[in-house]
Subunit: 409 residues, 2 copies
């Protein structure tokens, strides 16, 4: 037993509630169950299990319309009450409570004691950079397109074309599962063979994130199969399996490759103002604590949109110095083309992965040219030049701009 | 390969979208990726992987206000595209798409082929009734209250008191995790010992659902530890681990006890009109397919509320003849007291578990009397008598009514 506490912050909408009473109800109800009725002797013993109200900030503007009144409530939960795993923490702080009215889990501030149980990302930003030998430059990732129904030869060729453009990272489509045409080990062998071929041409290293799928209790076995076949990265649909599966994979010394967390199903949680789990917690802090080396999330620019403020809060959670775990690469995704690169780097800095699918494959000269255009766009920004200026001597970037334009806001 | 399809139905809100175009975009984008641009030869080969639009029902009332226009869209996804597990199905149909605007997953209609991979509940309603020797009567379940910080003796006594009232099922609190005071095996031994003591007094069998917690890859081991210690039921926070963990536990022949699915965290998914996963799918159909013998969900009566229509749709999914899996017990929960029993049985029929915590423990004469009051309330309804009438000769029911009243609507 110890006396450390992990905190949870909620936004609770209610037109009439006494929010202070509500907060006390949460602090007691989700810990010792009842308090005021307890005999003094029991209180002595139970105090270390009792939740505490940290703060209640009521937002009730003058002339508030129905539905606008809310409070941000922070509760401290004794670590003594739950085991050192994310399911236990989430079920404690947002199990039953998630169903109790219009309430959204905004943030968790796990205690140092709780966090110490999580080794976090095995590589993190620095480790991934080390694997690639790219210490400073923003990385470029390319996504397979239209891989369902393709055979190994087709997949290998697509991998090769993407790789020849000089991207650093290539990820499977998250909806590519075990299948007879491109089964995991053969897919990994074919792609890594293409990676070596590309490396001979470009002189540059590549990480291939193979999609880790299948039954929960065989995830470790499947990860090891992929790694044995040569995979030097794994893609994982974390939310379909729970954060603990990621945490266990990341903590496993045999799984010695970086893990990219895909946000599949995240939209079931974060977009509502009144329900669910906020994106910076879901796709930022929890992904990092659980051990994602990279976390993908909807960019504020493209086809699948998340507001920029929320996006930058996800990024912040992935890179803040306030967590003991290694920093994880933010990968704002969806709808990215080379003309967005200045904006991405302006918003996210250089510790970012510029990630594209259509923006690579849709290049007029094909995927290799698409990759080159992204690399040229990154180089332009790092050189302090406008894309238009840099494109004068960089043909693939010029063609990309011709197709997609340049977006500066 | 085969040509069967699993269908998904979405509600998509958009004030302006061409919903037919949107539906085609989903059907193509989440399967083969692109279609119209494919050469004819490729189309021949890819056709079996192409999603199909089944229906698009646009709801656009005259004078619709902004935010009111929506369409219910059903898409058929070829089973050839994903493996036979729930993560693969969910990531395919609602992975990326969950983040694409105001869209909620209303229902899944997995193919017979997909469903055939899921043995479902090992016991189901009939099996649980068989274990208890209660073929027809609605069952009564009691929930531990305030168990955090209690020792084994306290837990055993609380179990005994609940059991002596004649309840059929007793479940752990879902927030009771592995802890030094009441570790899993010792807790099971203490509670099952109390169950035997109660059985000698009441002549009635009991199932104790021990909370299955801990790291994902040790769930099976922990389940077997509990069973070896004597547990004859397991409680599981399914949504904290994903549906596949439940499916694998339920399919495991060594885990030969019923599993009760707790809805912890479900409120992060179902309450929003615009995002997430509808309750009948989340807490009904998917729980049953994955193998829950009982599924708990917020009742329409009590403190944690779900609208009655939605509640009855959850029930329907658990008991419909349309699924090949055994039927699962609906357990409408939260805020239940004996005076609600006529209403529960009127809404849910006799294939239901009447489940209470405060409504048992808060009885003026204690938990044993609380359990008796529930059993008397059930007996009253089955005898066709009003609670008030029946209470004349049944003291514990009378006291319960005195405290909580009778609710008939």
């Amino acid at each position: 037993m110890n006396s450390s506490y992990s905190k949870a912050t909620y936004r609770l909408y209610d037109d009439k509630a006494d929010f202070n009473k509500k907060a006390t109800g949460i602090a007691v109800g989700l810990t010792v169950g009842s308090w005021t009725e307890l005999p003094e002797a029991a209180k002595q013993h139970m105090k270390k299990h009792l939740g505490e109200v940290v703060s209640v900030d009521v937002h009730e503007p003058d002339g508030a319309q129905p539905g606008e009144r809310y409070a941000d409530i922070t509760i401290a939960y004794p670590d003594a009450n739950f085991s050192r795993d994310i399911p236990a923490l989430l079920v404690t702080v947002f199990g039953k409570l998630s169903m109790d009215g219009r309430i959204k889990l905004l943030d968790l501030q796990p205690s140092a004691e709780f966090l110490s149980a999580f080794p976090g990302p095995k590589f993190g930003i620095e480790g991934v950079r080390g694997l690639l030998g790219v210490p400073h430059r923003p990385l470029v990732m390319s996504i397979f397109k239209s891989v369902i129904g393709h055979d190994l030869a087709g997949l290998r060729e697509q991998f090769l074309q993407q790789a020849l453009g000089g991207v650093d990272l290539i990820k499977d489509d998250e909806i590519l599962f075990e299948n007879p045409l491109t089964p995991l080990e053969k897919r990994v062998e074919a792609c890594m063979d293409a990676a070596r071929e590309a490396e001979r041409a470009t002189g540059q290293k590549l990480i291939y994130f193979a999609n880790l799928t299948g039954s929960t209790f065989k995830l470790r076995e499947n990860a090891l199969r992929a790694i044995d076949a040569g995979a030097n990265g794994l893609l994982f649909n974390v939310l379909a399996y729970g954060f603990d599966a990621l945490a266990e994979l990341a903590a496993d010394s045999a799984i010695n490759v970086p893990i990219a967390a895909h946000p599949a199903m995240a939209g079931a949680y974060y977009p509502s103002a009144h329900h669910g789990i906020a994106a910076p917690l879901l796709l930022g802090k929890l992904m990092r604590i659980a051990g994602a080396d990279l976390s993908l999330f909807p960019s504020p620019y493209g086809s699948v949109v998340m507001p920029k403020e929320e996006n930058l809060a996800v990024q912040q959670a992935l890179v803040t110095d306030e967590l003991p775990q290694k920093k994880a690469f933010p990968v704002p995704s969806a709808g990215i083309h080379p003309g967005l690169t200045p904006l991405i780097l302006s918003d996210f800095g250089t510790e970012v992965v510029v990630n594209a699918g259509g923006g690579v494959h849709g290049h007029p000269n094909g995927a290799a040219a698409g990759g080159q255009a992204f690399r040229q766009a990154v180089d332009a920004v790092l050189a302090g030049q406008s894309l238009e200026e840099y494109a004068k001597n960089n043909e693939q970037l010029r063609l990309a701009i011709e197709r997609w334009g340049v977006h500066t806001s």
